[in-house]
């Protein structure tokens, strides 16, 4: 299945891309996806699926848009 991955803020410089489609096996979890794109597990982050917060153990579906952001706190 294909999911769209968007990296926000400085994470894009760490992983080397800002947004792309990825082919992943069915039943891939959010956590497995983050491992695949080499976002460090210990890095504080917010992950959303289609604009809503998602837990690491949740399974992805075809066509999902996953956004990974640092935890912004100000502005």
């Amino acid at each position: 299945m294909t999911v769209r991955v968007k990296l926000i803020g400085p994470l894009m410089y760490e992983t080397g891309f800002s947004e792309k489609d990825l082919d992943v096996p069915a039943a891939t979890t959010v956590e497995a996806l983050l491992d695949l794109i080499a976002v460090p597990r210990q890095r504080p982050k917010i992950v959303t699926r289609n604009g809503r917060a998602v837990a690491p153990e949740e399974h992805l579906s075809d066509g999902d848009k996953i956004a990974v952001s640092p935890i912004y706190s100000g502005g």
């Binding site: 926000i8 994470l11 604009g51 935890i71 100000g74 502005g75």
Partner: protein
Amino acid sequence: MYGWTGNILRINLTTGAVKKETYTEEFARTWVGGRGFAVKILYDELKPGIDPLGPDNKFIVAVGPIAGIPAPNTGKTVVAAKSPLTGGYADGNLGTRITEHLRRCGYDVLIVEGRAAVPSYIALENDAVSILPAGEIWGQGTYATHDWIYKKYGRAAGVLSIGQAGETLSLFAVVRSLEGRAGGRPGMGAVMGSKNLKAIVAKGNKPIPQADPQGMKALGASDLKKVGEMDKKSGWSKQSTNGVLAWCNEVAALPVRNMRRTHHPDAWKVDGERLNNARVATYGCPNCTMRCGITIHDHEGHESELDYENIGMLGPNLEIFDLDQVASLNYMCDDYGFDTISAGGTLAFYADAIDRGHTTGTFAFGDAERAKELLRMASRREGVGNLIAQGSLRMARAFGHDSEKYAMQAKGLELAAYNCKFCPGMALAFGTAPIGGTHKESWVITYELNQTARDSYGPEKSAKVIELQRIRGGLFEMLTACRFPWVEIGWGLENYPIYFNKITGLNWTLDDFWKTSDRVYALIKLFWLREMPDIDRRFDYPPGIWFEPSNADTEGPIAGKFLERDKYDGLLQHFYDQRQWDRRGIPTRRLIQTLGLEAEAADAEKYGRLE
């Protein structure tokens, strides 16, 4: 007394009188500095009901005990007065070299009273105080003003100035400093303008009294280096505050089209990645090692220093997605001395009102050139610019048609760049911010969307709003320091009592600051009560449009969602209960006693009621 200079400089521009006054250690311990000093002085010295743009208003410049001493990130100054925009207490902070120089001239507070007969500026050079003519630069923008002053005093001098917006008394004129810093959103620039005060310049070289200067020097230098290293490791300043734009777009919290929409497919064109790619320079405040001022060339070729709020409100909220055009609007606001957030919010309201047939005019979302023309007109108070210069709430009252509900403001101050169509906690943060719709007091939105159910109106959200108000609007605004090392890259809050204690020789904990912060918030509310004795909980509501089902998104992550009025009211009640404020949102007598505000409350009761 260490840390505090113990001195206030009072200047009356009507009479030319200059007076050096002292304050007690008890005053210092009770109010700490910055916002704390400002609200106490304004509460004691301003008679309720005075004209904010008349000579009876007072313009305060105040710093805190760690301000100006090298440490993370101590370059901030608070400016405050009664607001011509909201009619209540108002302040704002900005990074400026005034912070250190005011202290090195021997003062923690400057009070400016009266009104000069001719355009003037104030110059402090150690003990020398001058009120000098500013006719040559009256009518000029802030960049030309700063250059004019730098030629006389050197670029190392501390400078605060206003542009044409302050001179023409725009109700959202700010005070400007450095390359692109601004503060005092609710019209502090207009208060300066009303006093014929174009600028303040300070140059001092006296030592700032400290209990342990050598220890603080070593600690401050070491910690500034550590913060710089943490910033580099996290990569935060690559996109600075504008990193959050893409996240807001993703979670449907971006202001688009006067906050009618919450996300937009073109938002990427003005996001942090594009901003970083366009960067030509980076600026920051004094005593900072994580400089956030990303600067790009605008459409006309000026250097324009941008952050998320500027871009969100002058870009997506006006449906302008050309970054160089957004930069142009930002540059114009900085030069005229308009607040970028209120400028974006007011222009967006105007376009929306035209769209809905609630007024006639020539302006549409996406029209950057017309937006520039409207800013020019506002700076001169020409035509509809005269109305724009007064902000969205007054504009709505002039248009009628119930348009006030989509004037995106709280207490008269335009909301910052977070669309809370379906973010109850952040809506509460805007509603209860003590100066009106600012994000600075309690930026609760990432907590809300990441760690709570978005549709919850529970007490966990109001408790978090209060926790953040104590830290952001309390601790940092009193000390006075920038919150970014803590809030953006995780520099520990526990460091700040360490700095405070090393500098003052006291032995405070964070709990001492929380109580002081509650005292400051309570006194601000009493200030409002004296001005507006009939205020009640409706005063702490966000704009009405957020409660309307017809305003809900039709697609995306929050399709069909909107704020529920009764539930918001419940959340507000949680906030009041946790703060020990009554059902109108006024501090209770019991709390007043706990905070030691009996004398202030006795005065408030001459005008309003306490329970």
